[in-house]
Symmetry: C2
Subunit: 216 residues, 2 copies
DNA sequence: CGAAGATACGGAGGCACCCTCCGCTTAACA
DNA sequence: TGTTAAGCGGAGGGTGCCTCCGTATCTTCG
């Protein structure tokens, strides 16, 4: 029996998942994250198993295909990013909270050197994964955005989707040298532009302009 | 001795490249294109060699790594797209010529199901390739654009880069179902918007608006 | 045209990784 | 503590990667 997210309510007459199975699954995910980030998407699965301290068979039982493993790793990270938003909701300054989250998003991309190519592959075969992560991240960003808007600190005419797309678009050039600082700079400009300002609408529009820019 | 693009001027005391070597190289490229498109980037290189009717050793001599092969295939296609622009320059209607080229660009993406993921990988390691193709395609699109502008049929305030980015951006969602017809439709709208119209500037700006939109 | 030499060809072979399968181990339950 | 379902590990068969070198073919020059 294998632990599957969502069936942890074993109120039905299924057994409690075995402790070692849960532990091993976690270990493999952790190892996979490290190995893939370092060695790219074609890294050896046997290396992952070794690093996790489990047999190759165990790895394959939990994640029958390479893609399954990718997907699980990535899902977990998206979820962590989502949880971060939850934590940031308690921060005092809502604008700063949003800014921080966006920065974490950049960092998320930055540490995924090897993974990003794998994701392009995986997204292609499983658009469900794309939908999941979009949905999840949109909600995360939305909750932060709403709070800033509710506090009267930010304009209300920008949707979470727009913001997420802007973030993704900006990171789309993440293979150019120095992209990270460039994106962080642009994000600051962008967030400033989102602020409700005493200045006229004209100013807000000008500051928001960076977003529509597209990368490659 | 291996045929390398750019050294075909064997005016120096190098030998003429062997006919069979040139032929085989071409065969491998053709086979690779077919195999990768069908089977994705991890298709077997031995399958490519077999399809090309050459030994595996020959393949490896011409393209020492898998990436080299990707790159060569892709470069050739970009060049073909570039040549198409050359041919379209003779067409009577310059606006229609541009439209046709853009459509070919969409088709180019469409037939590259498997390749696109491979390219994401390759672009990452060789940004020189990215630069090459951007440059090449910008020039192609530029020549068509210039002609339409010179003929007074199109507004002059759109750069080839903008146009290319718009095309790429539109195709960025090429894994959604039905994307192709959607993009073709948008392209038509877009080209219409680029036309010089009796209507005021306001109209032109409104029509151009679809470009900044981003897909996913 | 024919010989000589340069160049390219093919595929066997060694290696790494993929993935399955099954006997053994261990945790959950009574 | 015994029973048994669940999970573990890794041997092993298979496939693809890539190198290496004896053989075949092409170009050049007399």
């Amino acid at each position: 029996m294998i632990y599957i997210a969502g069936m942890d309510d074993h109120t039905d007459q299924t057994r409690k998942p075995r402790a070692d199975a849960v532990r091993n699954r976690e270990r493999v995910l952790e190892a996979a994250k490290a190995v893939f980030n370092a060695g790219g998407p074609e890294a050896s699965l046997e290396a992952v198993a070794k690093r996790a301290g489990v047999g190759i068979g165990t790895l394959y039982r939990h994640f029958p295909t390479r893609e399954d493993l990718f997907e699980a790793v990535y899902r977990r990270e998206v979820e962590q990013l989502s949880e971060l938003a939850e934590q940031l909701k308690i921060a005092k300054d809502p604008v700063d909270a949003l800014r921080r989250w966006l920065r974490s998003g950049v960092e998320f991309v930055a540490t995924k050197k090897g993974m990003s190519a794998a994701l392009a592959l995986t997204f292609q075969s499983s658009s469900e994964l794309a939908a999941f992560s979009m949905d999840r991240l949109t909600k995360a960003i939305g909750s932060l955005l709403d709070r800033a808007v509710a506090a009267g600190e930010m304009r209300a005419d920008v949707s979470p989707e727009d913001l997420l797309r802007a973030l993704i678009g900006m990171c789309y050039m993440h293979d150019q040298p120095g992209w990270q600082s460039s994106v962080l700079r642009m994000l600051d400009v962008f967030v400033d532009g989102l602020r409700v300002q005493p200045g006229a609408k004209a100013k807000a529009r000008a500051a928001a302009k960076p977003a529509p820019k597209r990368k490659r």
